[in-house]
Subunit: 400 residues, 2 copies
Amino acid sequence: MTGPNGQRPMPPMAERSLIFPAAEYRRRAAALQGEMAGAGLDALLLTTAPDIFYLTGFLTRFWESPARPWFVVLPARGAPVAVIPAIGAELMGRTWVSEIRTWPAPDPADDGVTLLADTLCALVPAGGAIGLPMGPETHLRMPLADHARVGQRIAPRRFADATAVVHRVREVKSEAEIDKIRAACGVADRAFDRVPDFARAGRPLAEVFRDFQIALLQEGADWVSYVAGGAGPSGYGDVISPADSRPLAPGDVLMLDTGAVRDGYFCDFDRNFAIGRAGAGARRAHAALYDATDRALAALRPGMTAREVHRVMAEALTRAGVTPAAGRFGHGLGLALTEWPSLSEADDTVLRAGMVLTLEPGVEIAPGRIMVHEENLVLRASGPELLSARAPADLPEIDR
Amino acid sequence: MTGPNGQRPMPPMAERSLIFPAAEYRRRAAALQGEMAGAGLDALLLTTAPDIFYLTGFLTRFWESPARPWFVVLPARGAPVAVIPAIGAELMGRTWVSEIRTWPAPDPADDGVTLLADTLCALVPAGGAIGLPMGPETHLRMPLADHARVGQRIAPRRFADATAVVHRVREVKSEAEIDKIRAACGVADRAFDRVPDFARAGRPLAEVFRDFQIALLQEGADWVSYVAGGAGPSGYGDVISPADSRPLAPGDVLMLDTGAVRDGYFCDFDRNFAIGRAGAGARRAHAALYDATDRALAALRPGMTAREVHRVMAEALTRAGVTPAAGRFGHGLGLALTEWPSLSEADDTVLRAGMVLTLEPGVEIAPGRIMVHEENLVLRASGPELLSARAPADLPEIDR
């Protein structure tokens, strides 16, 4: 560190990095710094797993432990500085980040507060603004009381909202990122192809969830951060519950939804299966969902808003004579299971080329009974390119 | 809701619940309310997955999506109130919580702020204090800007730190909870027994990690929230990295560490294996770690501090002629992979009967090369009861 407001040179081209070449991270840092300049921010403070992975390549499941906070500071110019627990020094040392400051966490007396505040004071002029994501779909992954302590120590420097800075940069994926998400989708495609091997009448849903996770790992997932689903006559009650022990029964519609992870990138899509013969209502709902997705795929272009894409799908469902479910019909995807924007009536985000999105229309089959359908895509200048293999047009029947 | 400061009756005994009988959650609510009374808190606001699962039984992997905040408010008297996204209403409706208020999240204009503020104002008298965990090992899982907005709306009510309230209650496990953690440990015990089936020279560490996760699922894990490990000649460089593609080689020490989840409860322990013949240094380090753990198991009693248990292990390692690693030598365990306290020099938490802890001493074999060893236990009035099957005294050699 070269002193207050000191710019340090970017590390040389030959520095080590993880997952991607260092040039990819350098491009990301520059893009963030460009947005920061526009927002009048003198530094950016990142505290969450996806934000820190995005900038540094620091990828670990150790975020599962809430014991320690982690910080990365990106100054207005120059390279990022990691301010992290000593237990992470080895792994961070294998990324492109060359300036790594550590403390012996957890330290109940001072868990990085002094080290972070000193780092911010050295990088940001007095009166400067330090960006921190504070808005929708963000949270601060550090103790709230420690955040207040840092705020006191860095005064007259202040924290300012940097949600838009991070969102506008992260939401447009590079080709290298798109390749990673495509690979994660391929894992799920292959695992979904194997569902007929282990889902049949009489098997408890909990066992089906286990076998599906095993299939995802066998097909190349590094880990499986998310599996949900449901099963019931012609539909299911919700889409976020863990599995129960109820055995599948003929006439059930089984839905499986997964966020499998490969190299830190997620897929997020689901598939429906009829156990035995599909009922007329289930077939009709599935066909309507398939058609609504087709219409969105045909209409989707950069410049549309998230709200407009929701409307395309909702209107298609209504025209098909089914009831659109409440809630959003898709969202962003990448370093987290769900990213902004929301394809919903409430979201007027303008869609841009390079965004990776899910299309996820849902229908209400009966009160408290729904069916959902999901695909993953990247939005190109000319329209969407599917990353998941398109679901079959007709609800597949298994265990017939 | 019956008005400002209104107490609603607890739901009847026959209400539905998940994972545990409703009486277990009612006991937890009463215990939290007892601590809240001592701390002068008029309500408690919970926002994280483990805190909300603890009080309500609401268990879902949907927390993986950062899109929506979730709130549960426990008033000073009476039953908890859930203030949650509509997508969670059906699952929360299957818990013992009878008062569930929802909004159509995500809503960029008002993502639960008004509903949460109104709920707090109805439950807490003006000038009252609303507890929120703000201290070590906590974070606030909602956008920081929305937290500030809620704070403005509820004035003159104020937020106050409730870390100790939650920690003192959650850290002492009920027998029902201990049974769940024992079951999670059993899953890992059986999976570790199968490591010799898939770990051998020439196999990349990434494949070993996949097979280990598959074994955990086959042995009964609902999902695998954490696997880490390392491999190298006589030890490994760190314990938090994801697997790389380097093949295992004769003379390597392989360590696998897992937080497998069953019914929402974690295990967290590791095992070491020599690939082929174990070197003298690795055997010596493993024996020293085993002995240090034995000494802690013999000494551990309620009333000791976390620091004293660390010292027992550090002194045993030093006496054995090896170098204790930096950092903590164990921690709490239960609804998260790691809970407080830390068995470290910095933590003077008094240990109590009913705490579930890990013992996790580490040695530095050479600069940047370590070996760690971990067991899970519950502390009884008479001393520790192991929840993991004790590791073998001698470093096991596989693929000989």
